[in-house]
Symmetry: C2
Subunit: 416 residues, 2 copies
């Protein structure tokens, strides 16, 4: 056969230069090593998966509507499921019609569709700092410039939104944010909506964790304060099972039709089989009894991690660490002393048989390398305790080696 003089005929699109392997994905490979305790991935506990309910629902779908479940279907999604989502949102303080609900292949797809419809190369997207890495990955192929919005422990600062005027949207994760665990209170939500409207910056509100609250249910969505200016994303991954890949986007009429066109181009529609199974599960109120059992389990694990962090991590002295107990979700966010790189700590931690996720990849701008994310949903309380103890020991290893010690400390001539 004729051999081309070129090593490859493929020319990659410019956008691919910014698409890189997920740091978390690479780290998750570490967690597959035998004997590693993983506090890294945000994998829901498989003990929470309602296997029997999935079995019964599948049986019923295949008995009652097999031809429809296995056939091509509408790009918008299965109408009764869209209606269920709309009703559920009403219970959470957001009045929407089923016509505004688009069923997606996981809420990750919602992020991709939003990016495809709203981002031009070089346009600005405002994000929290840190923010969900998967959202950055979904948006990056559309080549935006990210601008990090200043925030505090209560979320993005409303007055900072003026600096984002012209941004295509603010991406915000108000409930138990991944990675920081931080939530936005009711008053701040209303202020953010007003400030965003004044700045002409619409909001993309992502809520995968809202049902996983352990102290008090979250306030009404930001979207309830500015319905025409907010796209809302939800998911069944945390309350049922991620392997079904079901999420949804709720969008105002101004952009709904374009999102549906993007959805159709992306995968025609989300599997109708899965949509009907999930509708069969949820329509009778299953989640009202099921989600509290997930909350109860994760609350215990969160409390175990809080206790382990308090017991093992130094809270004073040169190695003092900071964290806040999250009111829900899946993660603790730990700040190491300035100058300690959590990637160096990870290497030591893996030697001691535990893995976590360094914080740097969650920053769209300058990363704070002294941060890390710990998941408390995958492992049980006892393993969490061992894992956190091993991380604390790894931190002491790092100090004893003196290698990537905090610059402040080295300047001060600190001794082991």
């Amino acid at each position: 056969m004729h051999r081309s003089s070129f090593p490859t005929p493929w020319r990659l699109a410019a956008r691919t230069a910014r698409m890189n392997p997920s740091a978390i994905r690479e780290i998750l490979k570490l967690t597959e090593l035998p004997g590693i305790l993983s506090l890294a991935g945000g994998l829901p506990s498989a003990d929470t998966f309602p296997v029997e309910a999935v079995r019964e629902a599948t049986e019923r779908v295949l008995r009652e509507s097999p031809r429809e479940a296995l056939q091509y279907a509408a790009s918008e999604g299965f109408a009764p499921l869209r209606e269920w989502v709309a009703a559920q949102m009403g219970r959470q303080g957001l009045a929407v019609s089923a016509a505004q609900v688009l069923i997606t292949t996981g809420s990750q797809q919602g992020l991709d569709l939003v990016g495809k419809v709203l981002i031009d190369a070089g346009s600005t997207v405002a994000v929290e700092s840190p923010t969900y890495l998967g959202a950055l990955q979904a948006f990056v192929p559309y080549e935006p410039e990210f601008v990090a919005i200043a925030g505090d422990d209560g979320g993005p600062l409303p007055q900072a939104l003026a600096s984002a005027a012209g941004a295509r949207f603010l991406y915000a994760l108000p409930n138990f944010q991944n990675p920081s665990g931080r939530s936005i209170g009711a008053a701040r939500r209303a202020e953010l909506a007003r400030a965003a409207e004044a700045a002409g910056v619409p909001i993309v509100e992502d809520n995968p964790y809202g049902d996983l609250w352990y102290d008090a249910a979250p306030p009404a969505p930001i979207a309830s304060h500015w319905r025409a200016g907010t796209v809302y994303l939800g998911s069944f991954s945390k309350v049922l099972a991620p392997g079904l890949r079901l999420g949804y986007v709720i969008a105002p009429p101004a952009i709904f039709a374009k999102l549906v066109q993007a959805k159709q181009a992306a995968d025609l529609h989300t599997p109708g089989f899965n949509q009907r199974i999930v509708h069969e599960i949820v329509r009778g109120g299953f989640l009202d009894a099921h989600v509290p059992t997930i909350r109860a389990r994760y609350r215990v694990q969160r409390d175990a991690m809080q206790a382990a962090l308090a017991a093992h991590l130094p809270s004073t002295g040169a190695l003092a660490c900071r964290w806040q107990m999250p009111g829900g979700g899946m993660f603790f966010w730990v700040e190491l002393p300035e100058g300690i790189d959590s990637e160096a700590l990870l290497a030591k931690a893996v030697e001691r048989g535990v893995a976590f996720v360094p914080g740097a990849p969650f920053f769209a701008g300058t990363p704070r390398k002294n941060t890390l994310r710990l998941s408390f949903v995958t492992l049980g309380a006892e393993a969490i305790e061992r894992g956190v103890a091993a991380i604390a020991a790894a931190l002491r290893d790092l100090q004893e080696e003196g290698a990537p010690l905090p610059r402040r400390l080295r300047t001060a001539g600190a001794q082991p």
Copy 2:
């Protein structure tokens, strides 16, 4: 609440100007009217769906690996299913490793990922003319310029590829193309691969219909003639069921990693539940017995449509129509006399209770408005006969009205 002075805060990405509602989608709405016989959609016959096999496979998956099936999973896909696909491709003359197989949410998603990774705004994509409308819709958001490659009844002309030098790829559907039903023979495949390699234009080979052959199995894929220069797309939608949304992309190492990154950003992974169910169904050789039953059914329906077209459509005179019997797939492609617009015919046909798809949307360049596509897979033989008879009657209605009559005929002073 403060009211913005702008009617909407949303600013759409420039790409959305080219994203439009699918003409087929709008036409499919017609087919939902009561009493309409639809020869429009490419909906597989629900009678072919292996409901019992899906039920048994689901039962086994939920019994043996529920925690894995319902959990997050690898973006590349379920390893045993990737291995099955690789082995199956080997049987079809394309030797590939499982490491080159990416499982997608329907092969439509494969088109989207290919577009995301290979198309820059303003870059050129070479297409057949006509071509699959869904591919145009998948590529359009990445803003390519389409160039239609000259072809004949045997497919694209190899010598025409030189004019596409610099194109990011040639998109080709070699088996029983949607919409034209046309196939590319073995010799032309080899010539196309050589010409493409000489022109430096890689190939995206889409094969959703290859298993649906009614006279003879198709030759080896184009990819077998230029493995480093071809991406191959396959689907389970036509041999099992579209509602499971399972397809695959086979890509050379030069671009595989980027496709996986794009896949991860798009929906993390295709539902593991569905992947395991389909693997459970196919691993024991189920398709070897099942696909022949689909072929037998559709062969009867194809023959019924061929007979109905021959019986009812004029083949001589002012209204002479042309078509070729397809060797497989789902569609007949009919050419009306020059100057008759198939959209006008559709309006008449709907009055007579039958729907089809006008050909214009399938052309990336200047549309041939005197074409139409007829599906023979959704309806049985008797309904196909009635549908084709109604279309022939609608054609006579159009002629009798004299309204959108062929210009040639009007110039010649034709009388009813």
